[in-house]
Symmetry: C2
Subunit: 416 residues, 2 copies
């Protein structure tokens, strides 16, 4: 920590966290890009290395108009720069190494063995820059029997135990909508990258980070490990309930309307017995307040169907927001199941800055999800994802001092 005397007297901007940190980003799709997007929001200069001509494959996912970048690409690549480098040319490999010499972080999530085949393995890049933090995302860990197998988000969610604990009782396993294998992995790696940066600032030492998507998924079901270890049984599926399945009442209850998301989730905490008594008042069953048949979790757990039926009779008479308000105001935890269109229409997210509308040069106005942690009350300003190669000239000039002639030579040679 510098002495107070050396400190700047002006307040740094809230997201000037990684000012001056340079990231060479060879990652694609979601697991890697979600990770480097966090670094970009925290103020790092993240440069995507893309294939000339087509760019990263994710530019084609969920396109609204052919020939324009996808919305998928927008969501995971805001605030980054893009340069084109053909890594199939020797000049492209040399150029990448020149950038590595100037970088703090390198990240890739190619198929198993691909980065080594490109001649860009850790040992090679460490020799170029001993302070480099080199990060890799793979499907499986080193030494796993499945190490050479391809993985994608759903495969990781199956193999990492998540699907076995998601779904309705007595029915098939379900893949959660959230990308635990992708963004879930990216968030863990980002933490280690930031930790490695702090270590490097203190010691000057680089580091090799590696995460398996399979292992990352296992991180997000710690409650299931606890349940399995406490009971000796595999954790099951319980619809809208938590992994133990024992809390009554807990789960999703249908509301008036009958639409696919006309439900509330509600939950009476086992440790707060008064919550259920308050729920009884709200649903018009104050006659049962204090009744020993429903007084605590132990009593209610033998009457789950009965308790759920009594609640459902009431929830079906009201829309989900009215149910949520009535219960929440009585301090009973309850939330409406909101769909993506409802959420996009809620003004609070734009007001708080966790969603922002940005002007994209070809797509026009794009509403994007930003970084949900507010620093000193504000969210980082979202800049649209880069067009392919938008920053090639800028980065070659500012990182490597290349003049126009040198840059045009690389282009003529098919390197950029």
């Amino acid at each position: 920590m510098p002495l107070d005397a050396e400190l700047p007297t002006t307040e740094a901007a809230p997201f000037e966290c990684l000012t001056g940190v340079r990231v060479v980003d060879l990652s694609q799709y979601e697991a890697g890009p979600s990770c480097t997007e966090v670094l970009a929001w925290l103020g790092a200069e993240v440069v995507k290395i893309e294939k000339p001509g087509t760019g990263e494959a994710a530019r084609f996912g969920y396109q609204r108009e052919p020939g324009k970048d996808s919305w998928y690409f927008q969501q995971f690549n805001a605030n980054k720069k893009s340069i084109t480098v053909d890594l199939k040319t020797p000049g492209g490999i040399e150029l990448l190494k020149s950038m590595i010499a100037m970088a703090d972080i390198f990240i890739e999530n190619l198929a198993p063995g691909a980065i080594e085949r490109l001649g860009l393995g850790y040992d090679v890049l460490k020799a170029v820059n001993p302070k480099l933090i080199y990060a890799q995302i793979k499907g499986y860990g080193d030494g796993s029997p499945y190490e050479t197998y391809l993985s994608y988000d759903p495969v990781a969610q199956a193999m990492g135990g998540i699907m076995s604990v998601t779904g309705e009782r007595g029915r098939m396993p379900v893949k959660p909508g959230p990308g635990l294998g992708d963004t879930g992995t990216g968030m863990l790696l980002a933490n280690s990258l930031l930790g490695a940066l702090l270590r490097c600032q203190r010691t000057g030492q680089g580091q090799h980070l590696k995460i398996a998507m399979n292992d990352a998924c296992m991180h997000y079901i710690r409650l299931a490990w606890a349940f399995t270890q406490a009971t000796g049984n595999a954790c099951g599926r319980h619809g809208g309930k938590s992994v133990s399945g024992v809390v009554v009442p807990m789960g999703n209850f249908p509301c008036k309307g009958g639409g696919p998301n006309d439900y509330v989730t509600l939950y009476c905490h086992a440790g707060v017995p008064a919550q259920f008594q308050r729920l009884l008042e709200v649903i018009g069953r104050s006659d049962l307040v204090g009744d020993p048949r429903y007084i605590d979790q132990a009593a209610r757990s033998t009457r789950e169907e009965e308790v759920n039926a009594m609640i459902t009779e009431w929830t079906m008479q009201h829309d989900k927001y009215a149910v949520m308000r009535a219960l929440s105001e009585a301090k009973v935890p309850c939330g409406a199941v909101r769909d993506t269109l409802e959420l996009l229409a809620e003004p609070e997210f734009l007001e708080r800055g966790v969603m922002q509308v940005v002007d994209h040069p070809t797509l026009g106005q794009v509403q994007l999800m930003g970084w949900p942690v507010l620093h000193d009350g504000v969210a980082p300003k979202i800049k649209p994802a880069p067009l392919l190669g938008q920053h090639t000239d800028e980065v070659l000039e500012t990182w490597l001092g290349m003049d126009r002639a040198a840059r045009e030579k690389l282009k003529d040679e098919g390197v950029t």
Copy 2:
């Protein structure tokens, strides 16, 4: 960055990332504790502030034996220290402020308004330590219409859109097993905390961080935002498929055995047409290779039932691991749905260190999930979660220089 000449000549240990960083942890259950556990694994000194007598409520979740700490508590509090402080006494508040003066980070996830009622709001603690990074987790953001409502993980997953995109087609919304509202929130906040530490090291400035569990959940479904924006429709539920629901084949297929998790998930990537042709070979339908009815996603998307039936006929004849091996070796992405008992029995996680067995003073041997990012090939060593107040003497002495007499006085006064 210090000059090379000042650098230590010995290699720092892989997880000496946050050496010297002190965290005062007033968080409970999962969202906060999952966050501070990352800090502990990265080398910070994390001190839980607990209520004398009972401690944090999570010590009672999923107990194996009454009177002993829960397995839940073990999973989220490894590598931390515990001190008891009664925050209902003026002496307890004073003691906490003395610790804040020596700390880098403070974190809390109490109910809305509770920390301010304790007299420990940001303005108060900032005055004690201007360099403090003060972090809060709440259910909803400031200015939300639901700001004062209680939230727990399932409520956040409902309100944040996650449940609307999780479940079987045409059926009710489902809560994913993973704690997106809890651990999902914790991982995002940890990234901002590490960013704020880097900012503080450069500028000497503290910061106020705040995250809403509702907003955090929305972060994990970016793919759903992309789909909604590309199509104008709310994202639906598609069982084992991804949020767009359009890829064929994709999803969970039943295998021999008929148990609740005798399924594989498989997925032919739209951008890699050869995957489905290889799948046809594996399932014994090489007669269909090259057939225009199945040649690409566009063709197959009109024949989903037919394609799924042909695959199921084959998967039902083999156990899930055999199916996975056969497809994966043909470079078709496929994974078995593994349950928590199967995963606990797999040696690779212990070998890689992402799971470890620790000796706990009262529980005996406990197998815990650790940090899945390997640094230079190793995982951080897991230390068992602290007993209640185990480090009260140690922390009061090392942080505050209190001698035995001063510490005993605090105890006699009911402060610790």
